[in-house]
Amino acid sequence: MIKVNIGGMNTKEIKDLVEKFAEGKIEVKITSDISGVQEVLKGDADYYLGACATGGGGAISMAIAILGYSRCFTASMPGKPPRKEEIEKAVQDGKKALGFTCDHVQLAVPLIVQAILNNPSAK
């Protein structure tokens, strides 16, 4: 089972979306940003998702601090909706923390879930 932690803003909405698109293959839990990311660092969880107003600020700032910038990815920004290819590539490249804007929750989450399901080896 792939484990995904969620922190930051709009957590409930993101959790529901992950569950809706995960086809029962993802165990999802709402955490604080710090403990959620620490679990990813230790390998207790596989991915961390977060939303904020900008996609790169509150969403993944603690992930950047704990996991390092190279393992974090901003999937969408104001004015820049999420793109399927970019998210696919990010997951393949081993990005573990993905951030997006609150505006783009409905667009980004299904793409991210799909990318994670398509790349079981990236786990």
């Binding site: 940003d33 620490q38 969403a59 603690m62 601090a65 910038y69 004015g79 783009h104």
Partner: protein, 434 residues
């Protein structure tokens, strides 16, 4: 055009990019955790500057400028996200005696000058656009101010929404009812600040729930991390004089209503409701404490605007001189309390979760309130047509991937309505009301 406005924003810009250049403080919450990579020598300037540009540039255009334009007050995002880019772009080492290093010195001075020029140009540029709008035959700019009205009243309900998010619909409804009750009692008693009182009641209920909430499965911050936090907090304390100076400038800017901290407060301030703007700054600052404190503690780099209470004291100060002193004191206190706050947040994880929910609920309310406010404002410019344009633009933006921030699409559509009626008037398709 106000010279004072240009000077204040230029100083705030110069200082902002200088602080970013020296790794003392940055505005973007996502840039802060990356700063140690640069300071401790694991990342090159060019790489960081590219990241900083990627993080911030779109926000300046998509978030900062729209609100600055519609309110004629500089939203701090449009200034300090820009100076983040400028400051990280200019060279500079972090070794002792960097001032003797020519390249670092030029980087520092270059940041000051460029940041100052950026601030000045930002004000001049925005003012020029506003002046052009005001020269149009049908002046719609006065009407735009009213788009903030719904926010002034709707904002007080955000704690109830946040309670519902975190503790369920039952507690949310109770908070909702108590907020409404408090507002109406205050209003019936003839108090002028009924909305402020309602907001205060809601915030208190939310905090009580949050402090009482101690999830068992939540892990404490690990002790090794706590040690790192203390070490990096020391770095911030060493830079206190510069941070205090920034606090003074920011305090003045808020006192004179030249700059403001967020979309909610800027809209209410532009609508002339200083009291509402003040209470919003308090709520916003509270909601950002965990994020800003934790990113500062983990990086040793402070936030350019502190937690945000400088905006509050700036608005409350009776004069700009007092605002300067109070701003400096407030920001120093924020920086000084970092370790204490870090420990406190560790003790009350419910408060940290509440902060995220506060930010979510404020955003959702603002989206609805600006949309309704924009529709009303646009409709008072052009009856009938205003509703059509704003509603159409909002949905069009939604179905095309929300390219324009949801909070900003309404105000932008309202401006477009204003431009549109001017164009239509020229070709005789719009007859202005007498």
């Amino acid at each position: 055009m106000s010279v004072i406005k240009i000077v204040v924003v230029a100083i705030a810009g110069a200082l902002g990019s200088a602080l970013a250049n020296r790794g003392i403080a940055v505005y973007h919450d996502g840039l802060r955790p990356i700063m140690p990579e640069l300071i401790e020598g694991r990342m090159k300037r060019a790489e960081l500057a590219a990241i900083s540009f990627g993080l911030s540039f779109g926000l300046v255009i998509g978030f900062g400028i729209p609100f600055s334009l519609t309110s004629s007050i500089i939203l701090v995002h449009s200034l300090w996200l820009g100076t983040d880019i400028i400051g990280t772009w200019f060279p500079g080492t972090f070794e002792k005696g960097w001032m003797k290093d020519k390249k670092s010195l030029w980087g520092f001075i270059g940041s000051l000058v460029t940041g100052g020029a950026y601030g000045a140009l930002l004000v001049i540029g925005l003012q020029t656009i506003v002046n052009l709008f005001e020269k149009l035959p049908i002046n719609f700019f006065g009407t735009l101010g009213s788009l903030g009205d719904p926010i002034i009243y709707a904002f007080a309900i955000f704690p109830a929404i946040a309670v519902a998010m975190q503790f369920g619909i039952g507690k949310g409804l109770i908070t909702f009812a108590l907020t409404v009750l408090a507002r109406q009692i205050a209003s019936a008693a003839g108090l002028s600040s009924a909305d402020g009182i309602a907001l205060a009641v809601g915030v208190i209920i939310l905090l009580v729930f949050a402090i009482a909430d101690k999830p068992k499965n939540e892990k404490k911050t690990e002790s090794s991390m706590a040690a790192l936090f203390t070490e990096r907090a020391e770095r911030i304390k060493k830079n206190l004089p510069y941070i205090a100076l920034m606090g003074a400038v920011y305090g003045i800017a808020c006192n004179l209503a030249i700059m403001m901290e967020g979309p909610q407060s800027i809209t209410t301030l532009a609508a002339g409701d200083r009291a509402a703007a003040t209470s919003i700054t308090v709520a916003r600052a509270i909601s950002f404490i965990p994020l800003k404190a934790m990113t500062s503690l983990s990086s040793g780099v402070f936030a350019i605007d502190g937690f945000g209470f400088v905006a509050t004291v700036g608005l409350l100060s009776p004069s700009w001189i007092i605002a300067a002193v109070a701003g400096a004191a407030t920001m120093s206190l924020e920086a000084y309390s970092l370790v204490f706050i870090g420990k406190l947040l560790d003790k009350f994880p419910g408060v940290r979760n509440a902060a995220d929910n506060i930010r979510t609920s404020m955003t959702k309310l603002l989206e609805v309130a600006t949309l309704v406010g924009s529709m009303i404002a646009a409709n008072s410019m052009a009856p009938g047509l205003g509703f059509l344009v704003v509603a159409g633009a909002y949905v069009l933006n939604e179905i095309t991937g929300t390219r324009i921030v949801r909070m900003a699409i309404g105000p932008i559509a309202a401006i477009l309505t204003g431009i549109l009626i001017n164009v239509l008037a020229v070709v005789g398709l719009y007859i202005p009301a007498a």
